[in-house]
């Protein structure tokens, strides 16, 4: 029977081939990218302004050994030994990492966020357990990488990588130690050569900063993160791009810079952003005292709101007064004619949704188990940066600007959400069924819209040719929430505006960091 089954399978595959091929290989748009060859080397990036470090010499990097030192020659021989005997898998890792260190670590970040973006399951008594950073592997695993958490994580990693790279490019210029293939012309090289001094290694800086930051942000995944970093470093040796001392100095620099960011992260008030029962009740009381209808959770059992004090987290681009200054005016009153109209509009959208609108809802949903809206904008940005062939340090800078903008957008958005504590459409009209899950926090203003307004604005500045495209995407992402039945139009329009206003600070930073 087995044998005949196989024949059937072969016949079936022949038929399948007529449709879309028998192969089940799936298309991954970055799986086989060419090696990064920067159009502009940005060799002067050591002079760019770091975002957290006071100067590019905040972290000292010791002078490297000379290239005629026997230790150095031993390190060249380590490369040769690796190249004498390697597996196809090791070679494929060289190709994988050569597409760009910042890109690959950004992808790993998105993967970790998606993996950990799961709301904890309730306790038997109907309460919910909170992930515990001090015991990350116990259920619920730390973190619950929801959108605000993810926005913050992306920002810290990207900014730490950028600052560490600025320092690295500075020391590259200071010490000017040549790449191993420039020292030993007989060395085989598996990646495109460049004229950049190789000490400290920019790849190792990026990996070191990521590993150190992620230790704090994704503690349950350290084994995986360390394994990826090790593969990354091994790929650099095997490819002939770096000797071990390039990598060790780079990793040490990346880690040291990241430790400064980690110190900031430990005191940025994110740890207290979940609030407690008293603070959750206070939100209800304050809203009632204002004569308004307080938000309530649609989850069963009723789940406390997501990170109600995230609006108090320390932002990168503005201070706490700046957050309050950006807080928009109130949403339409619940009893107002405008709110009735907007609720009716939502109802009409979800009553008979078109296929295209459902596609838009789901394209932008970025809900549970995904890399979140900030992750989606990272993916959008990365796709364009790949085409632009920018240097590693510019990759880091652009992603840092993008992610700092989205992190701060999350802060301003969450501040607004919990200041007004406004109900979702389904709360005002229970017959509104939704095409995606109702996020467990107040409606006004839309997180997707605030993220997207901020992201589209900074990305449009970084790549003016794509500005209109980003704007259109942001508008679509924003409206997807109305189509999906989970936001009023006001939430989205004001969210977009607020995100755009916030991003002006990121644009200012971009204009003054020395990279333009």
């Amino acid at each position: 029977m087995k044998k005949i089954s196989k024949q059937h399978l072969i016949a079936a595959c022949l038929g399948a081939w007529l449709f879309s091929g028998c192969s089940k290989d799936i298309y991954d748009r970055t799986a086989s990218l060419p090696a990064l060859i920067p159009a502009v080397a940005d060799g002067n990036a050591g002079e760019w302004k770091p975002y957290l470090l006071a100067t590019n010499e905040d972290v000292a990097v010791a002078a490297p050994i000379a290239t005629n030192n026997p230790d150095y020659i031993a390190q060249i021989n380590e490369i040769k030994a690796a190249q004498a005997d390697y597996t196809p898998e090791e070679k494929s890792r060289v190709d994988y990492w050569s597409a760009g260190a910042v890109l690959r670590w950004n992808e790993i970040m998105r993967e970790l966020v998606a993996k950990r973006n799961l709301p904890p399951y309730q306790n038997d008594d109907g309460t919910y357990p909170l992930p515990n950073a001090n015991n990350p592997l116990a259920y619920p695993i730390f973190p619950f990488a929801n959108p605000p958490y993810a926005a913050r994580a992306y920002a810290y990693v990207a900014a730490a990588q950028y600052d560490a790279l600025v320092a690295a490019y500075h020391y590259k210029a200071v010490y000017n130690r040549k790449a191993p293939y420039a020292v030993d012309s007989t060395l085989r090289v598996m990646i495109p050569k460049n004229a950049l001094p190789s000490y400290p290694s920019e790849d190792a800086v990026v990996a070191g900063a990521a590993v150190e930051m992620l230790k704090l942000l994704f503690p349950a995944d350290q084994d995986y993160i360390n394994q990826r970093a090790q593969e990354h470093m091994q790929a650099r040796i095997l490819s002939g791009a770096n000797v071990r001392s390039d990598l060790e100095a780079g990793q040490a620099l990346g880690r040291a810079v990241a430790q400064k960011f980690a110190a900031r992260a430990r005191t940025d008030r994110a740890g207290a952003s979940a609030g407690n029962a008293a603070s959750w009740q206070a939100l209800v009381d304050v809203t009632l005292a204002r004569g308004e209808v307080p938000w309530y959770s649609f989850e069963l059992p009723v789940r406390p709101p997501m990170l109600p004090a995230f609006g108090k987290v320390k932002s990168f681009l503005i201070d706490s007064m700046g957050v309050i200054a950006l807080r928009p005016g109130p949403p339409p009153l619940v009893e107002s004619e405008k709110m009735k109209q907007e609720t009716m509009e939502v109802y009409d959208f979800v009553k008979n949704p078109t296929r295209e609108r459902i596609r838009i809802v789901h394209f932008w949903a970025d809900g549970v188990g995904t890399y979140t809206p900030p992750g989606h904008w990272n993916a959008i940005a990365a796709d364009d940066f790949i085409k632009q062939n920018i240097s590693e340090v510019r990759w880091a800078r652009n992603l840092a600007l993008l992610n700092m903008a989205m992190f701060d957008a999350a802060i301003v958005c969450w501040d607004t959400k919990f200041f007004y504590f406004n109900p979702r459409p389904t709360q005002l009209n229970p017959s509104i069924k939704t095409l995606t899950g109702i996020p467990n926090f107040p409606a006004y203003i839309s997180g997707h819209s605030t993220f997207s307004g901020a992201a589209a604005t900074i990305l449009g500045h970084l790549s003016p040719a794509n500005a209109q495209k980003y704007k259109d995407m942001a508008n679509e992402a924003s409206m997807s929430r109305v189509y999906g039945g989970i936001h009023y139009r006001s939430d989205c329009e004001v969210g977009l505006e607020t995100g755009i206003k916030l991003a002006a600070y990121a644009v200012n930073k971009a204009k003054t960091d020395g990279a333009e």
Binding site: A11, D366, H376, K433
Partner: protein
């Protein structure tokens, strides 16, 4: 036409997807239409669950309540020869969750096409008979319905090719049928840009793991009445478990074991007309060591029932035979 509830139909709703591929019915039974006979009808199916297996963990979900999947399927069967039948079918599916706010979906699901060939029809003696069948099946979505919205999507969206081998033994009016099938499932594409299954993917194309299905059915097959019990085992070859409190995903490892019963009755006074009904229950069976020898995972613990009405047309060419073979004799 002799319609039995198909195992895959029993799985409507047994699958967390609530959406199995509804095949035309007769590819799963050992009954043939004679040459030029044509039969068509409608089958209604109702399947619901309020518990499901998240991986191996059984749970409920207060934000879904009871998930219900209903369908009406049109089916037709034509006898090209006494030993070669061709069948088509297509269901209209609608879904609903009794709690929470997620909106149900509705729409035409997959077209299925099956060719059934009886390669052997051997009378062992006066009382017992043995028959062997080979069935080739194909199904594909009739429209671009929403896939990535489990458990409320209409279907899983893949184009499938199924090979099935069946053996049927009959003693007087008692019978037992056993078949095994292998289903090759083409990749699908989601509405979202990227996704995570057990790793991150930069793209929306999803590899769908293939499936194997086995069914044992046994009971009484008389001239006008068929009554039988069934046991159906669906196994997804690969795929992954739903992680804790995550949403289900189309390429989850959806396995199910379904026990069922069904009947079909052809009117004596009007043999063109027949009625059928069936019932199915998804379960998980423990062996003495506490292992699940009959597994169900990443599917709803569903209860389903179906009912249908079918009308057969006996043309002149087959009329000569209809006096005797208008009913359930294979």
């Amino acid at each position: 036409m002799l319609l039995k509830y198909s195992p895959t139909c029993l799985l409507v709703g047994a699958l967390l997807a609530s959406t199995c591929q509804l095949h035309a019915q007769t590819e799963t039974d050992a009954i043939m239409m004679n040459r030029t006979q044509f039969c068509a009808g409608f089958l209604y199916n109702h399947s619901s669950w309020n518990e499901y297996w998240e991986g191996t963990r059984k749970r409920n979900n207060l934000n879904l309540g009871t998930v219900t999947n209903q369908s009406v399927m049109f089916m037709a069967n034509y006898g090209i020869t006494d030993n070669l039948n061709v069948m088509v079918g297509a269901p209209y599916v609608w879904t609903n969750a009794s709690a929470g706010t997620l909106k149900g979906m509705k729409g035409v699901q997959d077209l299925s096409l099956n060719v059934k060939w009886r390669g052997l029809n051997y009378a062992i003696n006066k009382k017992s008979k043995l028959a062997l069948y080979a069935i080739g099946g194909f199904s594909t979505p009739l429209q671009n319905y929403v896939i990535d919205y489990l458990p409320l999507s209409v279907g899983l969206g893949s184009t499938n090719f199924t090979g099935r081998l069946m053996v049927d033994y009959k003693y007087n009016r008692w019978f037992a049928t056993l078949w095994g099938a292998y289903t090759y499932r083409n990749n699908i594409k989601l509405d979202r840009a990227d996704y995570y299954d057990t790793e991150g993917h930069n793209g929306n194309e999803v590899r769908m793991p293939d499936q194997s299905t086995f069914q044992l059915r046994a009971g009484y097959r008389g001239k006008y009445l068929i009554a039988e019990a069934t046991l159906t085992r669906l196994h997804t070859i690969g795929g992954f478990d739903i992680t804790r409190n995550n949403m289900p995903f189309p390429s989850n490892q959806m396995n199910s074991s379904v026990a069922g019963a069904g009947f079909k009755y052809t009117l004596k006074q009007h043999t063109n007309l027949s009625f059928l009904g069936s019932f199915g229950y998804t379960f998980r069976g423990l062996d003495v060591n506490g292992n699940y020898f009959l597994d169900s995972r990443n599917v709803g613990k569903s209860t389903s029932f179906s009912g249908g009405i079918f009308y057969a047309i006996y043309t002149k060419k087959s009329a000569r035979k209809t006096a005797n073979n208008n009913t359930n004799q294979p």
